[in-house]
Every structure is written in C-alpha cells, then in structure tokens.
C-alpha cells in the first residue's frame, strides 16, 4: 500500500510538473487514519499529500462530474470498479477521454472508512470489524478496465455469487418481499447521498427535484421512499457499474445494491450477457437505448 502511495505521488508530481494535467484526483489523509478523503492536487507540492491506503475506497470517477464543464486536464486514480465508472461517464458523453490521464490500481480490496468511523468513534454498540468493505466482497472487477498506466499486479475477482442476496429475496412470497422492502426502505431519510455519490447519476437536473410534474412525493414515508428507490433502480438499469458506493454511504444502511443487482441480473438474463462499463466503444449506448427483435417477452 505504501508502495502505491509513493508511486501515485511520483506519477502525480510528474504529470502536474510537466503540465500534462491541471489537477490530479486521488486521496489524502483526514484527521484519523481511516478518515481518508478524496483529494484534488493541483501542484507537485500538493501531490506529496496524496496517500493510498486500506481506506481509499471512494469511487473518484464521480468527482469528474465537477469538471465536466471545464477544460482542465485531469489525472485520476481508479481501482477496478472505479474504472468502470469512467466508462460510464464516457458512454454518457459526460467527459472526454483526451482530458483524462488514468492511473489504474489492481485493487486488493478496501476497508470501509465509514464503518471504521462508526466503530472507532463510538456510534456503534458493537463494532463490526470486518476485514473488507461489504462492497469489496462482491467485486467482479478488481482490475481497472481502462487506464493509461497500471499499478500493482492483477487480482482475481472476489465474488462467490454476487446475486445470492437477490436470489434469497426472489425465493420469498410477494407479500414477504413487500414486507421486507417496506421495513428496510421506510428507514430511508431521503438524503439522496446515494444519488450524489453515484457516478451513474450524472444527470444535470435530477428527476427527483423535478416539480412539473413532481414524480415522487417528498414525504418521508414508505411509499414515497419506495417510489424513490424503484425509480432510482430503474434509472440505473443497464448503467450501474456496481461500485457499491450508494450502499456504502447510506447513513441508514438501505440495501440499495439489492435492487441494483436485481436489475443487473435481469438485464443479463433478458438481454445479456451484459455488464455495464466493462469496455468503451465509441458511440456505444446502454441496453435501454437499443433492442433486438428477438428480445424475450411475456406480453399477453
């Protein structure tokens, strides 16, 4: 890990020094060791603040959205899942490949700083103390799929059956399923952090902020919450790159990935095989911008 820190610092200094990039997006340390923060280095000096450790979990590709209207050239560090986010942005026409210098890291799996916060700072009764962050246990793509420079050695996917949770729910009866979601999703405080952190949520104005019509009510109750989550999941259909950030940041532990993975599984079964953000082909559009005459259907 220290190794990566040094290497990233060197690359960042080099790129910033020779003007190849104007800003380099990586991480730096916050107050606590586990309080790692996204960091935007703008000079070789600042590049020395960069670190990469167990807690560099944030999918930085999302922060490219802050730069979509500028012309700055950007260096960015991505892990496997994060790199799929870059493809998401390219496919969604939100950033230009020429503006990016991508440093890929073959990801050994990360720990969750938020989990650590809760555990260490006394907000959890019993510390969870997990080895890897939940999302990293389900990782199908630890190695970057797009990069200009690659660090580390190839890792193998860590996932057993990433749809295990989905299948569990599928096995329930309709009423049990509804009850399950009613219980979990009524917790949602509708902070929309899951939206803000999501690289696939790259719209300029979000439909949930839309007033004409107001698609989804703003009340914090089961139905409005459910509407929010169903619409969000459907907007992720064929687009979610499974970085797991949404579920990770949720302050009330809504199992957002359950819905995302359900859709991923279905899109795969129905129109697949298809995994979003695995490779970039110019002009490529996600599954709901196309069709096959032979698509399955169960229409009456």
């Amino acid at each position: 890990m220290n190794d990566f820190t040094q290497q990233i610092q060197d690359i960042a200094s080099r790129l910033l020094d020779n003007g190849q990039v104007d800003v380099f997006i990586a991480w730096h340390k916050g107050q606590q060791d586990f309080q790692v923060q996204p960091y935007f280095a703008r000079s070789a000096d600042e590049a020395q603040n960069i670190i990469f450790n167990d807690y560099s979990i944030h999918n930085l590709s999302n922060s490219l959205l802050k730069f979509r209207d500028s012309k700055e050239k950007i260096g960015i560090v991505v892990k496997g899942c994060d790199s799929r986010g870059i493809i998401r942005l390219l496919e969604d026409n939100q950033i230009q490949r020429e503006r990016l210098y991508i440093v890929g890291i073959c990801c050994p799996g990360m720990k969750d700083p938020l989990q650590a916060m809760r555990d260490e700072l006394g907000f959890n009764h019993k510390p969870e103390s997990t080895e890897l962050a939940a999302k990293c246990n389900d990782c199908i793509q630890p190695n970057p799929v797009i990069y200009d420079e690659l660090l580390g050695t190839e890792q193998s996917p860590r996932v057993q059956d990433r749809f295990a949770r989905v299948k569990e729910i599928e096995a329930m009866s309709a009423d049990e399923r509804y009850q399950f979601f009613e219980e979990t999703i009524s917790r949602c405080i509708r902070c929309y952090a899951c939206r803000e952190v999501c690289v696939a949520c790259d719209c300029r104005t979000c439909i949930f902020d839309e007033m004409r019509p107001q698609w989804v009510g703003r009340e914090n109750n089961t139905t409005d919450n459910l509407m929010y989550h169903i619409v969000k999941a459907s907007h992720m259909a064929g687009r979610c790159i499974e970085c797991g950030e949404c579920e990770r940041v949720c302050p009330v532990n809504i199992p957002l990935m359950l819905l995302n993975q359900k859709v991923i599984k279905d899109v795969n079964e129905l129109f697949g095989p298809y995994e979003a953000g695995m490779q970039y082909v110019e002009g490529q559009k996600p599954p709901f911008s196309m069709y096959e005459e032979s698509d399955p259907d169960d229409f009456l």
């Binding site: 209207d69 969604d92 026409n93 559009k285 911008s289």
Partner: protein
C-alpha cells in the same frame, strides 16, 4: 424513362446506389455512389461496336433472368437510359486479368476508361420519392412440390415476360428454356407465394390475375393449336376494363381451372401437374410443356435497409409504410419522403403511375411553399435539463434527434456542452425518446409528462 431523362429539370442518375440520407424535409443531403462504369458517357455515342466485339460473351444475362447471355461490356437492358454501355468489372478480362482491351482499341470516340473509379456525390434535395419497386418472391426456396426450381421448364412469369417480349432473348417467340422448343401446352399457376400464409405471403399481389390473363392470351394467340391452362384460386379483375380483358382471354380459349396444383413432376419431356378442379370436385392430372408461376411480388432487395438509412418504417411484409392507409397513402412517417409504386405494396402500372403522380404533386406542393407547418405534436428538449448523454438519439426512428453544441454561462465563464435537439420537422411525435431520458429533459407536446400524470391522477381518484 426517356422522357424523364430528357426533361430539363430532371437529372437521372443511373447505375448508382444511395449510400446515406442526412437532413430533414426541405434540406436532405443524399449521398449517392455512382459506380465505376469504365466508359465515359459524355463521349460514348452508344454505337454498340464494343458490345459486338467484346470477346467475353458467355455471361448470363441478369435482365433475361438467366435465359440469355451478354458481353462484359453491355447495356443493363435494351431500353436502358441512357442507352450507353458499361463494363461489368467482374467479368472483363482486362479488369480482372489485365489482358484484352479490345473495346478500348475499337471505340471510335475513345470513351473507354479502365481507370474509372466509384464516385460519391452529395445531392441536396428538398423531398425524396421512393420508387424502389419489387422483386419476385423466391419460390424455389419454398415450393418443393413445384420442384424447387430443378425443372428448367418451370419458370416464373417475369421470365415468361422476357420470352414473349420482342426485345427478349428469343425475339418474342415463346420457347421453352430446356430445349428451345415451342411449347404447345402451357400451364399458368397463380398465387404462388401470394395469399399463402404457410409458405409465402398473406397478401394478394394484385397484378398477377391480369398479367396471367395476358400471358394466357399471348400463348393462345402466338402459338397455333396451343393450350393454356390457368390454375387459380380466384380471378380478381377490379379495374377499369380488366374484366373485359379477362373475358377476351377466355374467349381466346384459355382454360381456367379452379384449384391449387399440388405437385409437378417430369414425365419424359413433359411436366405433369396434379391438382383438383375444386368446382367439379374432381382430381385431375394435366401434362404440359411449360409451367409459368405467377409468383408474389415482394419488396425490392435492400428496400428495408434503405428505409432504415432514410429513417422511415416498413410494414410487416417489408413494404414501405404509408403514413395513413386512407388519408396519407403516398406519405411516409418521415416528413418529406414520399412513395410511388410497388415499394409501398403490390400494384400494377396504372396504380403505380397514379401514385407516382400523386407523390409528384405532393412534392410540388411542398417545394413551392416557403414555410412548412409541422404537426404540433412533437418532442422538445429542455436544454437546461439535458445532460447530453445521447441515449435518446438512437431511439428516434426518424433520426429527429441529434446532439448539438450549446454555449452556457457557468460560474467560471461561458463553456460549451452538448445537448440533444429535436428537429421538429422530422419528429413524428411518437414519444419513444421520452422514457429514455432519465431527467425528463424531453417532453412531447400534446402528451406531456405533466398532462399524462394529471390524467393518471384523475383516473385514480
């Protein structure tokens, strides 16, 4: 065609293919590939010396449907406009092997150009009329009972047209392909591939009844002591003077038998047809010299792809879809694109001409106006909301949506970004693009989100 070619306002481009159509009503750009002809038509006088002298003579003549041969330098068909030859590169020994070049040497005007290249031209037009016509249904793939094409004397009616044409391979004498003998007994089978849900098409090809009547009449009048059998399901003669023509054919002695031929097989040099006369309810067997199949009309090869390129739809059989079967029979859903002839559906020449004239009139009506009023029910993009993801772009069947650059004022000064834009003159208001847009940056006038949600709300009260 000659008249068209000579019209001062008509430019006829032959031996060419449409590659791409961009733009919209009033402003189309059509990219045309003019195929290399290896003959400079400006110099060529069409004297035909080269055609006579060309040593590669044994090439199957496509126009004669395999019943004649031609040279490598040749005219596509006798009445081709302009009446000038081109070199079929695939068969020319000079072009394939570098030898020969006879034509070049003998051409009195030095019109031969072995270094000719395909040429691409962009043509700006305001409207497009589709008249790509038809092909015949490939019966050899479907009708095993008629021998899948293994009997040379089972031909389709277009081949018969060539046989009976004075400009055809036999100079107008009806001869059977296998041995060149004059057939004394000819059977015509109608509705091969038409009105046949199981093997062919469900529709009626409309022209067959009349041309078969014509063909039977030709047999009866051109060949002495001949017999013409017509096997039919119905005789449809809806058209001015059609019934009268059919009667003439009957009067000339054509034998109409209602029944579907269930099998054809060879016996000696004859063909035997097994069938049933359904009017009498009697099975029968007929021995003939030649069988002519009135095969179904199907859309011309490549017609569907062409429709896709231009951006309008085809019906379930691949014919071009008119905008409305009764009220807009010559328009397509793509504004500025019109239809004429069998590309829209089977029809005969009078109907083709009528439709073509209607299209021409529509085009004139369009092009003489300075402004064009579109249907108000079109899609619109709110550029403020659009993120420029372009997901909606491929969904529009009319290619009405494109990404354009816009200038915006940001916190750090102006910047450009891409947003979708709907060309209102192309949009037909289907609204298919809307659900593709997550931010609902698109809305459809007349069926806006707000209106539909209000409707849902009201109906759920």
């Amino acid at each position: 065609m000659v008249a068209a070619a000579q019209h001062p306002n008509i430019e006829l481009i032959t031996y060419a293919e449409v590659q791409k159509v961009a733009g919209y009503i009033g402003n189309f750009t059509v990219t045309v590939k003019k195929k290399a002809k290896y003959v400079d038509w400006d110099l060529c006088t069409g004297c035909g010396t080269c055609i006579e002298k060309c040593p590669s003579k044994k090439i199957k003549d496509e126009f004669e449907l395999g019943m004649g041969s031609r040279t490598a330098i040749h005219k596509l068909f006798p009445q081709a406009v302009p009446g000038k030859p081109y070199i079929d590169a695939e068969h020319c020994t000079k072009l394939t092997k570098g030898k020969c070049g006879v034509c070049e040497k003998i051409c009195p005007t030095d019109a031969i150009r072995f270094d000719d290249q395909d040429e691409y031209v962009d043509i700006d037009v305001g409207a497009i009329v589709m008249a790509t016509g038809y092909d015949l249904f490939d019966w050899t793939e479907a009708y095993g009972e008629y021998g899948y094409g293994k009997y040379p004397d089972v031909i389709d009616s277009l081949q018969f047209e060539r046989l009976s044409s004075s400009g055809g391979p036999t100079g107008g004498a009806i001869r059977r392909p296998s041995d060149g003998k004059e057939p004394k007994c000819v059977a015509f089978i109608k509705c091969v591939g038409s009105r046949d849900d199981t093997k062919g098409k469900s529709y009626c090809s409309r022209a067959c009844c009349m041309y078969t009547a014509k063909h039977a009449y030709q047999v009866k009048t051109k060949i002495e002591d001949s017999e013409a059998y017509v096997f039919y399901m119905d005789v449809r003669t809806a058209g001015k003077n059609y019934e009268e023509f059919y009667q003439r054919s009957l009067d000339a002695g054509a034998k109409y038998i209602r029944g579907r031929v269930s099998k054809i097989y060879q016996r000696g040099d004859k063909l035997v047809l097994k069938t049933e006369d359904t009017l009498l309810g009697m099975p029968m067997e007929v021995e003939v010299d030649l069988v002519v199949l009135a095969t179904a009309m199907v859309p011309a090869e490549g017609a569907k792809e062409l429709a896709k390129t231009i951006g309008f739809s085809t019906d379930k059989d691949g014919f071009y879809q008119e905008a409305h079967p009764k009220l807009q029979p010559v328009e397509t859903f793509a504004a500025g694109v019109y239809l004429a002839g069998t590309c829209q559906g089977p029809k005969d020449i009078p109907d083709t001409v009528a439709q073509a004239s209607a299209s021409a009139a529509k085009v004139l009506g369009l092009l003489t106006r300075d402004e064009y009023a579109t249907d108000p029910m079109t899609s619109e993009v709110d550029p403020g909301k659009c993120s420029g993801c372009g997901f909606c772009v491929p969904i529009c069947p009319y290619k009405a949506i494109s990404l354009v650059d816009i200038e915006e004022r940001g916190a750090e000064g102006p910047f450009t970004r891409q947003v979708a834009q709907v060309n209102a003159s192309l949009c037909q208001g289907c609204g298919a693009c809307l659900p593709a847009c997550r931010t609902s940056a698109l809305d459809l006038k007349g069926f806006t989100d707000e209106q539909l949600v209000a409707e849902v709300d009201a109906l759920c009260l």
